[in-house]
């Protein structure tokens, strides 16, 4: 369990792995799992100029 960096709501990441994107249930902010041991989350990254296929 950790907290949303936007609204401080408690966030559970369950069986997620690093790189998973999910919305905070309280404020809807898109969050990214950065690490799992220990769990760390950040606001999801914005699309960068070199992102693509």
């Amino acid at each position: 369990m950790t907290n949303c960096p936007e609204c401080d709501a408690e966030v559970s990441c369950g069986a997620m792995i690093a790189g998973e994107i999910f919305p905070c249930r309280d404020c809807g902010t898109e969050l990214e799992v950065i690490a799992t041991t220990p769990i760390a989350i950040e606001r999801a990254p914005k699309e960068a100029e070199d992102w693509g296929e």
């Binding site: 994107i21 999801a44 960068a48 100029e49």
Partner: protein, 283 residues
């Protein structure tokens, strides 16, 4: 039967494609190690634990490119190799490769200044398409209808901080039906294909185009395979249009998404990619 080759999944964010790859690997007993690009360090000397083959799924062109160079330096096989990603992930290098291989591709001129871009647009003829050399999903692409519009767009582009926005890739606007075609190539085979229909001029799935399964003709299949070979081959999505003069390939994507394609066609593309990566690892 030989043991499965140990694979690595190098990725930025877990999209449905990466989740499907992980699930397909688990279902087949293929070891696929998640390698999140944000958490990785790349020393010059080879780290101890590395998979035999790294499957690049990084959404960042530059991260993917440098990481592939490192993995190859460490002695890992890569899907796709750095040189393929470099060539196909840059629209200019991709166009050069397609043209050199005789694959039909839209008329294109590159310029390095605003004035040069205007000259290129005049030469190509309006409407024309102005694209940054790197990027996807139709981002920062403009269809330019006349000189006045061109001057306004170029002024806006010159205000953007990235130097790549001042490399002007000018391409003819291909009059086509309200769709483009995507063929997914794995090795020497087109494993799935779809059309992407949109009333808007940009037919990217990321922009809401409607995907429909496509059975490509032998001519289109051959063009797609030649386009894939032109950039070095591997796992590639070839984007083509139906111009009045025949098929033209405008892009070959080296780290292709396949959510829409797998959902539309029912082809287990993730499994095909894993099988190909296994084959690469056994070469």
């Amino acid at each position: 039967m030989s043991d499965p080759v140990r694979l690595g999944l190098f990725y930025t964010i877990l999209r449905p494609e990466e989740k499907w790859l992980l699930a397909a690997a688990t279902a087949r007993g293929i070891p696929l190690v998640p390698m999140h690009d944000e958490g990785m360090l790349f020393p010059l000397d080879r780290p101890a634990e590395l998979p035999a083959v790294v499957l690049n799924r990084s959404v960042s062109h530059l991260r993917g490119l440098y990481a592939l160079r490192f993995f190859e330096h460490y002695g890992c096989r890569t899907v796709n190799p750095a040189e393929v990603v470099e060539r196909a992930g840059d629209k200019i290098l991709g166009s050069l490769a397609l043209q050199a291989a005789g694959v039909p591709t839209p008329r294109t001129i590159v310029a390095f200044t605003d004035d040069g871009a205007l000259q290129a647009l005049e030469e190509i003829g309006y409407p024309a398409v102005l694209k940054p050399p790197i990027g996807s999903w139709g981002r920062l692409i403009a269809r330019v209808h006349d000189r006045e519009e061109a001057e306004q767009i170029l002024e806006h582009k010159s205000a953007l901080p990235s130097p790549t926005q001042s490399i002007f890739y000018v391409q003819e606007h291909v009059p086509k039906p309200e769709r483009d075609l995507r063929l997914f190539v794995v090795g020497d085979e087109v494993v799935a294909a779809m059309s992407r229909r949109s009333e808007a001029w940009r037919t990217n799935a990321a922009r809401g185009a409607v995907a429909e399964p496509l059975t490509p003709s032998s001519e289109l299949t051959e063009i797609a395979l030649r386009a894939a070979r032109a950039v070095g081959g591997g796992v590639l999505a070839v984007d083509a249009m139906e111009s009045p003069a025949g098929y033209v390939v405008h892009e070959v994507n080296p780290t292709p998404e396949f959510k829409a394609l797998q959902s539309t066609t029912g082809v287990d593309i993730a499994a095909r990619i894993l099988a190909y990566a296994q084959e690469v690892g056994r070469r």
